[in-house]
């Protein structure tokens, strides 16, 4: 049940005046922020605030209209998603993108980096080596599955998992890539409260081993207990950044949230309250 080792040093990811427009709509408007190596950072904001688009820009799935993305000070704005992932930036998606027809085990095994068996030239010449690699990858996949409490469903096709389990599988796949920074897009959405607690423990554990996290979440109570720094986005802009209790106490943040959430009857947790009572 030990966590997969995160031995590589963390990555510092920085957005500089990142902008993305869809037609006349500016989804992300000159957002600058920095995720320090090994930091645990949260992003909140009402629906349509541009959080997922920001993730897309940082991971290369969405092209920037203006601004830069820096990784440890190097400009990676022009790199495609797979190249950024190879540098150690792993991401999950808001709507899970599991390989539906593959088993959970195969989903995890696909993600392992540097597989000889993916090369046609080696496939027919180095069978023994590939068998050995496969055994190691499978062992790692089972370790990750155990870490995320997915052992029981290892041989079920991923398409038949529950929404929460798919979220966990996405995290597991990301972990298989030996990331140094994980960008999680709503990891708690659709997950039952008990499991949320478990995922949070896992995140804390990985974080304590040096892995950086950047998390989008609607579940303010959970998120503000977890992260050290909280960014608030609204209408494509960065509204506030700082310690969770400070940020959530600000009038403009409360207004942005109340504006879109009051109708649904949601409570906006304020600084201290969110830490102790919310669950």
């Amino acid at each position: 049940m030990s966590a997969p080792a995160a031995t590589r040093a963390g990555l510092t990811l920085e957005a500089r005046a990142l902008t993305r427009r869809f037609g006349g709509f500016t989804a992300v408007d000159a957002v600058s922020l920095r995720v320090q190596a090994g930091a645990l950072v949260g992003v909140i904001g009402p629906n349509g605030a541009g959080k997922s688009t920001l993730f897309g820009l940082l991971t290369g799935f969405v092209k920037a209209d203006a601004g830069k993305v820096l990784l440890d000070g190097h400009d990676i704005t022009g790199l495609p998603p797979q190249a950024r992932a190879q540098h150690g930036i792993a991401r999950t998606f808001q709507v899970p993108r599991e390989f539906a027809n593959l088993s959970v085990r195969a989903n995890l095994m696909v993600a392992a980096p540097g597989q000889s068996g993916e090369l046609l030239t080696r496939l027919f010449t180095q069978a023994a080596r590939i068998r050995l690699e496969e055994a190691l990858i499978e062992a790692k996949a089972e370790q990750v599955a155990a870490f995320l409490k997915l052992t029981k469903v290892l041989d079920i096709s991923a398409g038949s998992l529950s929404g929460g389990q798919k979220k966990l599988l996405e995290m597991g796949r990301a972990l298989m890539t030996d990331p140094r920074l994980m960008l999680l897009d709503e990891p708690f959405a659709g997950v039952n409260p008990v499991l949320i607690g478990q995922i949070m423990e896992r995140i804390s554990e990985l974080h304590s081993r040096g892995m950086g996290f950047h998390i989008i979440e609607h579940d303010l109570a959970s998120l503000s207990r977890l992260v050290g720094v909280l960014h608030v986005m609204d209408q494509g802009r960065l509204l506030a950044s700082g310690l969770p209790e400070d940020v959530l106490g600000r009038a403009d943040v409360r207004e942005a949230y109340l504006g879109s959430h009051a109708a649904a009857g949601e409570q906006v947790p304020t600084g201290e309250a969110s830490r102790g009572t919310a669950a």
Binding site: T59, F61, P80, P81, Q82, A83, A85, Q86, A90, R91, T92, F93, R97, E98, F99, A100, N101, L102, A106, N107, M109, V110, A111, P113, Q115, S116, G117, E118, L119, L120, L123, F124, I130, E133, E134, S157, R173, A174, M176, T177
Partner: protein, 298 residues
């Protein structure tokens, strides 16, 4: 009658090779290749030109057929795989028609619409024995293709292809480049089609542009859809079923004598089309597919 059966089996074997290529591309990876006949055509003409005009040994023709077809697939993969699935389908269809037009126009090389006759047979003689030998060779090629296919499917490479079919964006997020795999699969499938083309040229003994219309592509599509898009057994059973439809309908004329040959050709196509529609409605996973398994692209 035996000779007729052997002839049908040889053609079936050639179509199974085509079907295996498409199974790899569509069934496993989700590539909608509507230009399969283009690679088949390149293989057939490569073999024909090398043996008839070049005087080269047959073996060289087969190698050239596979290599040239694969090489033709490379730029298409490079350019077209950046497009969305449906555009890729259109581009490949355009590619195969372009190949047919080139073959029709470049008379200095291909003799244009007159075609290239006198392609040597793989085995001399006209008796049933030579037919059986050719059939054995085709079967051997199929066996080799199946063995390669099995190795691919049960490997990390095959697992990646299925992952790409299920969700390409997620593959990118894991630091893998889907385009590399798709290009390789496109080239592999094309090489198989090229070999099928070489067999075809040496078996029929004559190639001309009108043998390589998109209809051939769609026959192969029908076969793998009726069989089961992602399975080797699907390619085998589906092709057998297709041949049963195509050849079986010939005998309809003996039973219903007042139908002319031209009418019959149209009725055959209609019957195959109807069968395809019925399959899509009642058995979308194909004869050999399992119920729980969704077809590629769904």
């Amino acid at each position: 009658m035996e000779a007729y059966l052997v002839a049908i089996l040889i053609v079936t074997g050639i179509y199974v090779l085509l079907g295996l290529g498409l199974t790899l591309q569509f069934g496993l990876t989700g590539l909608i290749n509507f230009g399969h006949v283009g690679f088949f055509c390149i293989g057939a003409y490569a073999a024909a030109i090398l043996s008839v005009y070049g005087g080269q040994p047959v073996v060289l023709g087969f190698v050239a057929a596979a290599v040239l077809a694969a090489l033709a697939a490379w730029p298409i993969g490079l350019v077209a795989l950046r497009l969305r699935d449906d555009y890729f389908a259109v581009v490949t269809l355009g590619f195969s028609e372009t190949i047919r037009l080139v073959v029709t126009s470049e008379k200095w090389l291909t003799s244009g619409v007159q075609g290239i006759p006198g392609i040597p047979r793989l085995v001399d003689g006209v008796g049933i024995g030579s037919g059986l030998t050719i059939l054995a060779l085709v079967a051997l090629a199929n066996l080799a293709a199946v063995l390669i296919f099995l190795r691919l499917v049960k490997s990390p490479f095959g697992r990646m292809l299925e992952a790409i079919r299920d969700n390409e964006e997620a593959v990118k997020a894991l630091g893998k480049d889907p385009a590399r795999f798709k290009i390789q699969v496109l080239m592999l499938g094309a090489a198989l089609a090229g070999v099928a083309g070489a067999f075809y040229a040496h078996y029929i003994g004559y190639v001309s542009p009108d043998q390589f219309t998109p209809l051939v592509t769609f026959y192969v599509w029908m076969a793998i859809i009726m069989g089961a898009a992602g399975r080797i057994s699907g390619a085998l059973v589906g092709t057998a079923l297709l041949m049963l439809f195509l050849e079986g309908s010939r005998f309809l004329r003996d039973i219903v004598p007042f139908i002319s040959a031209v009418d019959m050709a149209s009725i055959r196509l209609g019957a195959v089309g109807l069968a395809l529609i019925l399959f899509m409605i009642y058995l979308p996973q194909g004869l050999m597919g399992s119920k729980s398994e969704r077809g590629a692209g769904s």
